[in-house]
């Protein structure tokens, strides 16, 4: 079984986010970038399936600028066998919208014919949570989103999904699309020898033009703001005052 894993280059989740002074976007100069944490979980799941003998090949794919090859190398160091970079540098330096990404991935799916595609449920930079779903629609494949457990049984895939207030288990026929939730697994650290070996694994490059996909943006980013700073608490003198404030200022009781 061949597994395709999609990974995205995003701002490192450990890094404190700063908004540009003109509020046009998040400031990315001199900021450490890394693989989206949900994508790390996707890679880990694919590699585990391979280690268990369920999968025979893991292919990592990313859509992004030249520098996104770093994240592909990380995927290779973690155990992917080869990688595909869809280089969008010519079109845009950072942003490609979910729909364009899904269309590009659709082409890769058509070419590679994987039995399983694993994506993160969302990227921590845009929080869109839609690429996997869009890819499912475009390819006409069944989807199991927010996966917290994935089991392959013959030509069926059993996916346990994290839904509001509980779990839901679905069975999909393969080929299928899965998006990962936080509890699916705990990604490993790359081993030093594997980091070195990753350099020698094949990495192919394609462009959106070669795949015949238009990536021009249809959404304009108007403004980015930092979350409002937390206001300090206040001390109340009596229970009556507390009730009064909860009623009239916070309006949480009536």
């Amino acid at each position: 079984m061949k597994i395709l894993v999609a990974v995205k280059r995003v701002i490192d989740y450990n890094v404190k986010i700063r908004v540009k002074p003109d509020n046009s976007d998040v400031d990315l100069t001199n900021v450490k970038m890394a693989m989206n944490p949900f994508c790390e979980i996707a890679v880990e799941e694919a590699v585990r399936l391979k280690e268990r003998g369920v999968a025979s090949e893991v292919v990592a794919v990313t859509v992004g600028p030249k520098a996104a090859q770093e994240q592909l190398r990380t995927a290779l160091a973690l155990g992917a066998d080869r990688a595909i970079h869809i280089n969008t540098s010519a079109e845009t330096d950072e942003k490609v919208e979910s729909l364009a990404v899904a269309k590009l991935l659709q082409k890769v799916v058509e070419e590679e014919q994987p039995q399983l595609v694993i994506l993160g449920k969302q990227a921590i930079d845009t929080d869109n949570n839609q690429t996997g779903q869009m890819l499912a629609a475009l390819t006409g494949l069944p989807q199991g989103t927010f996966a917290s457990e994935v089991k392959v049984e013959g030509d069926k895939l059993q996916v346990t999904r994290e839904i509001d207030g509980g779990l839901q288990t679905v069975a999909l026929s393969l080929p299928a699309i899965v998006t990962t939730d936080l509890r699916l697994n705990e990604p490993r650290y790359a081993k030093l020898p594997d980091i070195m070996k990753a350099k020698k694994k094949p990495l192919a490059t394609q462009t959106p033009a070669e795949l015949g996909v238009e990536v021009a943006s249809k959404v304009t980013l108007l403004k980015v703001e930092s979350p409002a700073e937390r206001q300090g608490g206040i001390k109340v003198g009596s229970v009556d005052e507390l009730v009064e404030k909860l009623k009239n200022e916070a309006k949480v009781i009536s």
């Binding site: 100069t29 001199n30 450490k32 190398r73 650290y189 030093l192 020898p193 350099k199």
Partner: protein, 601 residues
């Protein structure tokens, strides 16, 4: 709890932009493995490992300490598991030869990683910390059989190493050691004696511990010329090379100490323990120096790591803590007070930390390049030059970076005010942990004697000249650049003065040897400041050249920090120069009795 982000951008500045490591690696045999993308990937993963695995255990390890029970030592909770992950990740073997299970990457890369380890958890770092040196000593001086028995295990981190020098009555003066080695007739020796203060002498992280022990043969000459080096494993390797029979070396007790609580500092009792001679008889001290030179640079890196950690957390606090208004008027009128980073004195403290940490990183990486060259350069003349420079700079890295490391971590406490004194914030731990770095692997006093006595004066100043010539050339090349004048002029002056001061001390020392000891620590500190001034000038040159792009803010901050160093830290050379010139008289006149007239304890 303190946080930490490995300074990856600054490392790129120092390694790629300032010191041209990509070209350096490309020239090293086997260096093609260390291409920039691989180096970046390794550093990023190292940053992640140290932050996510080691950092969370730093404070808990400090509180919990180690436990000795029935001769076995338990390291703090989580240490063993972290060590397992470290070994599985292949990190211990990063720079070792592939022949012995290593990855064959340059030593300098290992040094960058060790900065991250020291910044996140020094006490933990001291468990694997001496394995590298132990392996080096065996690789250079061990027999083929010893290499086969111990090297691969040490390199892969399956076993750890120690160095057993210190005894109750001697630390600095190893000529006094009493541990004995008696031949057993089958080529081995029975080692008996007591070693104290042995870092990681006993612990539960690895399946075996390989002690490198200094001891005396029965017919050994007196003093330091009669010391031999032995390898004494905790478990004697069996026929298959696995840990076999338990050897007669045990941990008698653990020290209770000021810092690095998570590291076991052991009294080690050798009771007719089976040991094997490493290198020629009575040449043990020379062999041990292979290990000690590596370890000394390692301790300098500990100073660097701790300053960086303290700086990052002091900075975060200073941006956050609101207290009083800026003298020139409110900066953040909407808030009840301004963040303390607006106050000049808080800035002085933060910049002191920043300038020492970033300058220290340049010094470590400059030295790291020399380490690579000494190990691998194909050209004998180049290698010799690198070796001389490395010898000169080793005591500076060790002592200067730990002295200013202690100062900088102390300033870190001060930035937090009273909260810095409270354990929970973790700032006082950096100070306590930094305190040992000025002591072990030879105190600052001993490093200073090594620098001034052995390295500088014994070579008739030739070794120093090698370095001052390089600085002189740099100054000459940049003399006409008005943008760099504020750095080059003072640097050129100091560089000339460095040689003059050395001559003066040398002349005085011909009449009175005490003059060397009297000048030594000031000479070392002076040397440290001038060395950092040279590197800060190079950083300024590089930053100047890169101005104007989208990383302008980064380069401007570099230049501003360089200015701070030149205007606010470099003037300390005036005091050190005066104290060097003051001579020995004021130190030596007062008699040991007169020191304490009026009391006796």
């Amino acid at each position: 709890m303190p946080d930490y982000q490995a300074p990856l951008r600054d490392l790129r500045f120092v390694m790629d932009e300032m010191l041209d490591f990509p070209a350096h690696y490309a020239r090293l045999p086997g260096g093609e493995e260390a291409s920039p993308d691989v180096v970046n990937a390794i550093l990023a993963e190292g940053a992640r490992f140290t932050r996510e695995v080691l950092l969370p255990l730093n404070q808990s390890g400090d509180r919990e300490g180690c436990l000795l029970e029935g001769g076995e030592v338990k390291a703090p909770k989580g240490f063993k598991e972290a060590y397992r992950q470290y070994v599985e990740g292949g990190w211990p073997s990063l720079s070792a030869e592939p022949e012995f299970g290593g990855q064959g990457l340059p030593h300098s890369l290992g040094m960058v990683l060790s900065e991250m380890i020291c910044a996140t958890n020094l006490a933990w770092g001291m468990y694997p910390g001496l394995s590298h040196g132990a392996a080096d000593a065996l690789r250079h001086h061990g027999s083929d059989e010893q290499k086969a028995s111990y090297l691969t295990k040490l390199v892969e981190g399956v076993w750890t190493g120690t160095m057993c020098l210190t005894e109750p009555h001697c630390g600095t003066d190893l000529g006094l050691i009493k541990t004995r080695a008696v031949p057993t007739g089958d080529g081995a020796y029975e080692i008996s004696g007591t070693k104290i203060f042995i870092s990681a002498g006993e612990h539960d992280l690895a399946e075996n511990i390989v002690h490198l022990v200094l001891a005396k043969l029965p017919d050994a000459p007196e003093g330091s010329k009669g010391i031999s080096l032995f390898v004494v494993p905790k478990f004697l390797p069996d026929a298959d090379g696995n840990p076999g029979e338990r050897n007669g070396v045990t941990c008698g007790s653990l020290e209770h100490k000021m810092g690095i609580h998570g590291n076991a500092t052991c009294v080690m009792n050798f009771d007719a323990a089976r040991g094997f001679l490493v290198g020629p008889p009575n040449k043990g001290l020379a062999c041990m120096f292979t290990m000690m030179n590596v370890a000394r640079i390692g301790v300098g890196i500990q100073g660097l790591g701790l300053m960086e950690a303290s700086f990052q957390n002091a900075l975060a606090y200073a941006r956050d803590r609101l207290q009083m208004r800026a003298l020139s008027g409110a900066r953040e009128p909407a808030k009840p007070a301004d963040p303390i980073i607006v106050h000049p004195d808080v800035r002085r403290m933060l910049l002191t930390q920043k300038a020492f940490a970033e300058g220290g990183r340049m010094l470590v990486m400059y030295t790291a390049k020399l380490v690579d060259l000494v190990e691998h350069d194909q050209d004998a003349a180049e290698r010799e030059r690198a070796e001389a420079l490395l010898g000169l700079l080793t005591p500076v890295v060790k002592a200067f970076l730990t002295e200013v490391g202690f100062e900088a971590t102390n300033e870190g406490v001060q930035v937090l005010g009273g909260h810095g004194f409270i354990r929970e914030w973790g700032m006082e731990q950096f100070v306590r942990d930094a305190r040992i770095t000025r002591l072990y692997e030879g105190t600052t006093g001993v490093q200073a004697l090594d620098l001034l006595g052995r390295k500088v004066l014994m070579s008739q100043g030739e070794t120093l000249k090698l370095f001052t010539k390089e600085i002189h050339k740099f100054c000459q090349a940049k003399a006409g650049d008005p943008a760099l004048k504020e750095f080059i002029e003072p640097l050129a002056k100091l560089n000339a003065e460095w040689g003059e001061l050395t001559m003066e001390v040398g002349m005085k020392a011909m009449h009175d040897r005490e003059e060397v000891g009297a000048a030594s620590v000031d000479f070392l500190m002076y040397s440290g400041y001038v060395t950092l001034a040279y590197l800060w000038a190079r950083a300024a040159k590089q930053a100047q050249r890169s101005l104007g792009g989208d990383e302008d803010a980064f380069y401007k901050a570099k230049l501003d920090t360089a200015r701070f160093f030149y205007q606010r830290l470099l003037p300390r050379t005036r005091a050190h120069a005066q104290m060097i010139q003051a001579g020995a008289a004021s130190l030596m006149t007062i008699s040991a009795e007169d020191f304490g007239l009026g009391f006796e304890i």
